[in-house]
Structure formats: C-alpha cells, structure tokens
C-alpha cells in the first residue's frame, strides 16, 4: 500500500504490521496529549511538582534525553569535521535520534514552564548570567541545526525526491552540511556544558554547588564528557534495537566498534575526572557548608546507593566492558554495557536534580520526597512514544541506513 514511499531495494514489513507496531506509541502520544492539554489548560497543579521540587521528572527527562541525544553532534563532528568515513553509515541514525531527543525536550520544556506563551522572554529579555539562558539559546539554535541536518534525509524519500525543487534543496543542504555540523558541535558543546553549570552555579545548594575550578572548566567538561560518552552508546542501542526488530544487519561492525571504543575511552576519562570532582566537592564545598557527605543521605528516600550505582555499576562496569575488545565484540556485552552507560547518565542527572532539591539546606527543614502524577508520566512517556514513532517512520520511509542494501542484498526476484 505504502510501497511507493519505501526506499528502493529494501524490505519492510507490511503496512498492517507497521500500523500495529505504531499503536502503543500512538497511545503514549495520546496520553501525553491529554496530559499536556490538562497542564496547559488548568496549570501545573496537575503535576506533583511543588515549591520544594520546582524541578522534577520532566527536567530529569530533559537532561537525560539531551545527554542521550549527544550522539548526534558528536557523530556529526567525527563524520564531517574529523572525517571518519566509517561513521557515514550511522550518521543518519545519530541525527534522527538527536532530533527526536532535542525536539522532545523542547516540547517538554514548553509545558514545564508556568507561562509557555511567554517562553520567548528567555530570548528577548535574556539574563546572560543565567546558565539556563545559555542552554535555551543553544538548544533552540541546535534544534534548528538538527532540523537542517534531518531535512536532507527526509528529502531523500523516494516520492519527495521526485519534486525537483526539494531535491535541489536537499542536495544543496547536504553540500554545506559541514558548516552546520561545526555550528552544531559548537552549540552542543556549550549547552551540554552549561547544563552542568546550571546546577554547579546554584552556590547556595550544597549538594549541587561547585566552586571556582570545579565549575569552570571541570563541571562544564564533565557534562560534555558524560554526554559524548553516552550519546554514541545510545546510538548503538537504538541501532541494535532496530537490527533486532528488523532481523537485519544495518550498520557495519567497524562503525559500531569505533563508537563503542570511543565511548569506553571517554567514559573512563569521565570517571576519573568525576572522581576528582566528587573528592573536590566532598573535601571542599561540603565541609565549608558545615555538612558531611553522609548528611545528604541521612534521611529521605534517596540513599547513598544512588552514587554507588552511578559510579560503579553504571560507570566503571560499562567502561571496562567497552574498553575490552572482547566486550565490544560480544553483542550481549556491548548492549549490556551501552544500557548501563545510558542508565548511568540518567542517574547522574537524577542526582543533580532530584536529590539537590530533596536535601534541605536549612537545618530545621525536612527531607522531601516526590512522586510524579500520571500527567507528568504521560508527558515524559509521550516523548518516548514520539521517539519510537519518528524513528520507525524514518526507518521505514527514509534511507536511514545507507549500508542497508549493501549488507542485505535482496535475493533475486
């Protein structure tokens, strides 16, 4: 039925199966749509956010998703600027993931702020000292860049390609992609760093605060590093999931292995620096605030195990696997390590947001806990649904994996 839309020379499931596959994601989107409507119509009282948990599930999702989407800029950087040819087989995937992550994050942010219609005040009345302004600026610009990077791929659809004007546009965009990739790299680099800065500069919140050297450049680079260490892993995960579901090999091993190795190395460097960051914080900020490390975990639902999980299980373990050639070669180990790596980044962002806010600063205040409402889950999961949907559509109708035909020669008809 939709075969004229499907790229030449590849095999896709029937429209019926595809439709069934999209149903759960459409359901998530519908749930999210209802939640979003309620939040916009009635206000943020629909959530369980409070004056204590001013930032909550959505911001965790946002930060996590943006870190996971970092594969796009990093792969783009490696492909177009550094010139790693083998990555051309995976760059499209990275861009689509990046686009999904960033656009999803933007939508979530739009609902998260109390006055979405005034959202553009961030740009127009910018307070340049605010890290969030830098983040907003860069994310907005970078989303434009990602769209620009995504457009040529869309224009390569079999039917769209027939329109001459669009074909020209696509080709021309493709030609100067290196410029956009460079801009994207620059923007991404800054906002990934600023996201870290966002918490580091909250100097009156001892759990998040860093000072001097530990804000700039330490936290800044830690966030960049953590993002580029996990971004490629997320790209690998998505690719592997697609390969598993389509029962096809889509990306040559060299690309995957290169990304995995790089991820492992970056993660290792990150872990070393992060350890120093923790030590510097434990022996610097924490005692200066009159606290001890364990004070942050003496009460409340968020225990010290979170940090152990973040650093050891979701940091050290995947790093070791990814650095071992055997680990990279084994599909199971690779996927396991990538999963851990991605979980680690979510944990890291969770700690920075939720635990920072749960810990009372005034000694007579209490520890707080927080559970999201169904509306919050709805919007968070809608991004997941949206991601699956866009990714599936892109896989079905666009030549997302350039090596697909080569790796899966169609048996002669």
């Amino acid at each position: 039925m939709d075969s004229p839309l499907i790229p030449h020379g590849v095999k896709r499931c029937t429209p019926g199966v595809f439709f069934l596959w999209t149903l759960p994601w459409l359901a998530l989107l519908a749930w999210g749509g209802l939640s979003a409507f309620l939040c916009l119509w009635k206000g943020l009282n629909q959530t369980n956010m409070s004056n204590v948990f001013a930032f909550a599930l959505w911001i965790v999702f946002d930060l996590a998703v943006i870190a996971l989407g970092a594969g796009a800029f990093f792969t783009g950087f490696l492909t177009y600027i550094v010139g790693r040819k083998e990555l051309k087989s995976i760059i499209n995937t990275a861009v689509v993931i990046g686009f999904i992550c960033y656009s999803g994050a933007m939508v979530m942010l739009g609902i998260d702020i109390g006055q979405p219609v005034r959202g553009w005040f961030i740009m127009w009345h910018a307070n340049i000292h605010s890290m969030l302004v830098e983040v907003s600026f860069c994310i907005t610009c970078y989303l434009v860049v990602l769209a620009i990077e995504f457009i040529p791929l869309i224009l390569e659809n079999r039917q769209i390609e027939k329109v001459k004007e669009l074909r020209f546009l696509g080709h021309n965009l493709h030609e100067i992609m290196a410029v956009f990739a460079a801009t994207g790299t620059f923007l991404s680099f800054f906002h990934q760093g600023s996201l870290g800065g966002m918490f580091g500069v909250m100097y009156a919140r001892p759990f998040a605060a860093r000072e001097g050297f530990y804000i700039w450049p330490w936290t800044f680079f830690l966030f960049v590093l953590s993002a580029i260490a996990c971004g490629p892993c997320f790209t690998i995960l998505c690719t592997k999931l697609t390969e598993f579901l389509s029962r096809k090999k889509l990306v040559p091993d060299d690309a995957i292995e290169f990304l995995a190795k790089l991820s492992g190395r970056l993660l290792a460097v990150y872990l070393i620096l992060k350890t120093f960051d923790y030590l510097g914080w434990i022996y610097g900020i924490v005692p200066r605030s009159g606290l001890t490390f364990m004070d942050f975990f003496r009460d409340g639902p968020y225990g010290v195990w979170l940090i152990v999980a973040e650093m050891i299980f979701c940091g050290l373990l995947p790093a070791i696997i990814l650095l071992t050639p055997g680990g990279r070669k084994s599909q199971g180990a690779l996927i396991f390590a990538s999963l851990l790596n991605c979980t680690g980044i979510v944990l890291n962002r969770f700690l920075f947001i939720i635990v920072t806010l749960a810990v009372p600063v005034m000694p007579f205040d209490r520890f707080w806990g927080y559970l999201p409402t169904w509306q919050e889950w709805g919007i968070g999961l809608a991004v997941v649904g949206y991601g699956f949907l866009v990714f599936s559509l892109a896989y079905r109708y666009l030549p997302m994996f350039p090596k697909e035909i080569e790796l899966n020669p169609v048996p002669s008809e």
Partner: protein, 54 residues
Amino acid sequence: MTPLSFEWQWNIEYVIFFGLLYVALGIIGGGITFVAIKTALQVFGFMRERKFHD
C-alpha cells in the same frame, strides 16, 4: 535582546554573549539563505544544478 533595549548593558559580557549568539544565528541563517538562494537560482534556472554525488 538588542542594544536598542534599555535592558541592554554595554559591557564585555553582553558583547561576548550576544556576539556569539548572533554569530551562531548568522551562520545558521546565512547557511539557510545561501542554500535557499542557490536552490532558487537552480529552480529558476539561473544556475545549472550540479549532479549530487555522494
């Protein structure tokens, strides 16, 4: 924010911050405009489109 607004402050931080922002916007905008004009010229036929090679 532009230097026309009363909230603008003439100091180095503003110049660097907005300078970088406007440069980034300029590159993106310039790139798009370049591609748009080029495409238009090709479509209008003022310019031969080159064959796209991968």
